[in-house]
């Protein structure tokens, strides 16, 4: 039982909805409980598509293959059902929700997880929020700001990590969390992920990144290289290091 992967992807083909452009051409991937995986790849390789698709983004359509999460077909589920089942996507471009404070947003998200008639305990919620912010070294005033509205790149990404901390996912998908961050912000965000990972060792993390630098701070157990909609190489952390020195050139021909 403990050996069954938490997420299992088989021969996944996907295209942009409303268009005939196939982006994923047969992806296979297994993630086990508590593992940290990284998928690296050049722009346009399909790695972000994979992350969004796993969270149920309406812009993509699966044309073939299967995705099994905790033994169940996840492709049948709506994005909110996937979230409630424990899948979390940290967005590359977090969306603004003007007029809605982070606290209110998170309270609504947590309330949505409860059965009808059940009400979230506001004091418990407040305690949880404050302690999560403390762990992530965030100013409590941050919780009163409208979600992503007028945020800097770094603030947006930290907000994603805060949401991850509050929603306590089983599977965290981190879509280019390092993009647009300077090195200080990158460290803060990576530190946050590491702490959450320590607190919850059973959490599985899939990091999507173009650059190796995030992996200096978050150590993956497995690294995969994705090129042109396929995973072309998988291995340990050494794969990332090889990429750092050699670049993606070698794989472009492999993927072709």
């Amino acid at each position: 039982m403990s050996d069954a992967p938490i997420l299992s992807i088989r021969n996944l083909h996907a295209k942009v909805a409303d268009e005939d452009i196939e982006i994923l051409h047969g992806v296979d991937l297994d993630l086990n409980k508590g593992e940290i995986h990284a998928i690296m790849g050049p722009n346009g390789s399909g790695k972000s598509t994979l992350a969004k698709l796993l969270a149920g983004h309406p812009g993509y359509e699966v044309t073939d293959g299967t995705v099994t999460y905790k033994g169940e077909d996840v492709l049948e589920l709506e994005p909110d059902e996937r979230s409630q089942a424990g899948i979390f996507l940290a967005f590359q471009y977090p969306v603004e929700v003007p007029g809605v404070s982070i606290a209110n947003f998170l309270r609504t998200a947590l309330q949505a997880r409860l059965d009808e008639g059940e009400e979230i305990d506001l004091f418990d919620f407040q305690d949880q929020l404050m302690s999560a912010m403390e762990v992530l070294e965030m100013d409590p005033a941050f919780a009163e700001r409208p979600v992503n509205d007028g945020f800097s790149g770094g603030e947006k990404k930290r907000n994603e990590i805060l949401q991850m901390a509050m929603l306590k996912p089983t599977l965290a998908l981190m879509d280019e969390t390092d993009s647009g961050l300077d090195i200080d912000a990158l460290q803060v965000v990576a530190e946050g992920v590491n702490r959450l990972s320590e607190e919850n060792p059973e959490m599985t993390v899939l990091i999507i990144t173009h650059y190796q630098r995030l992996l200096n701070y978050i150590k993956p157990d497995h690294v995969h290289v994705m090129v042109k909609g396929r995973i072309v190489r998988s291995g340990g952390p050494e794969v990332a290091e090889a990429l750092e020195s050699e670049g993606y050139e070698e794989f472009r021909t492999v993927g072709a």
Binding site: A55, G56, H57, P58, G59, E78, P79, D80, R82, S83, Q84, F88, L89, F91, P94, V95, E96, V97, P98, G99, V100, N104, F105, T108, A109, L110, A112, R113, P146, Q163, L167
Partner: protein, 471 residues
Amino acid sequence: MPQNEVVQDLGLDEYKYHFITEDEPVFRSGRGLNEKVVREISAQKDEPQWMLDFRLKALEIYNSKPMPTWGGDLSNLENVLEDIFFYVRPQDKMEHSWDDVPPNIKETFERLGIPEAEQKVLAGVGAQYESEMVYHSLKKEWDDKGVIFDSIEDGLKNHPELFREYFGTVIPAADNKFSAMNAAVWSGGSFVYIPKGVELDTPLQAYFRVNQEQMGQFERTLIIAEEGSKAHYIEGCTAPVYSTESFHSGVIEIVVKPGAHFRYTTIQNWSNNMYNLVTQRAMVHENATMEWLDGNLGSKLTMKYPSCYLMGEGAHGSVLSIAYSGDGQHQDTGGKVVHAAPNTTSQIVSKSISKGTGRSTYRGLCQVHEGATNAKSNVECDALLINETSRTDTYPYIEIEEKKSNIGHEATVSKVGDEQLFYLMSRGMSEEEAMALIVRGFIEPIAKLLPLEYAVELNRLIELEMEGSVG
């Protein structure tokens, strides 16, 4: 309890207070509007001759004015008006204590939460049932301070000179076709007088509803805020659903004397067969402030543009509004500010939400007269479209005769985007919950100015309205 309750599935755009209680009006005018009806109304109210003359003159004006051809679709309105009872009076006498209110009327109030409101020290609840005040309580401290908060009829009876000095001065009968109609057949509404220097911490509240099939409601409110006074008046309306079209045309006149501060808050949630054509205007004198806070939900068509005439130097006016248009509804709303004196300032903030085939129109006028130097005005209108079929239009009219003035206008239209919905849903919210949260955030800048219980009620209404918004 004789009761004919119509219960429907509270789905998309179903009206929240969809119930009807049976009662027997003491007096009901014939259908349609004519001199006989006007004379009957005046006689029923035992009015002085000058008021009858005023009404008859207004009727003439009404008949002489064509239907407006701008704004919303009024093409079916003439037919509607032929079928309306212009006056219905449920009871003979005013009620002053809750115990005296007859049970069937009480039940209507109970369903609307009036008793709780009463218990919650809201005090001064003047509830309008059909065309008359039937229940009216006034906090003792207000009496002591000389504040008058009466039905409009009692205002005329008990304070004839004060009444006559101001009545019809802010909005003359001839202002527009519907102000003329109201002037001819007005019935019900409030008369408020705040003496010099008196500040009220607790808002004055009137809560009323229309409850007689095909009855037009023509409430008339007159408010005078004397020099240096400060007060807040809150009005909330709701009406049950009927299959035939219904009509509401109110007139609200407010005089804000030098240095006074007055806020008028309305949350209207009419049933979606209602024509709601309201004229509300304030004369704002030197260094005085007038704030309109206006929430329009429901109705078939609403045309309403609260206005501030800034008559004295340093006067300030603001019009903050939220409009929600569901399927088949049209909210044609906005605001009007007239800068007639130097150093006057104004602000119009309008937020509209259109869902399904709903349509929201912002229509605003900012006028700066010559000599109104250093006038400043800022207009901001934001529209949110929920579906592809929703519609919004913006008509900002700006007329400036004074070069030394500063007028700003900003308009935004946003659609609830797939990416935004996905973001919220990926956090576990259903599409409806996500939609409701986005809408709540959108109106938050105005909703936060409402008293808490109204903000909560508004949020609840929005949630109900967002049910079934998906697809």
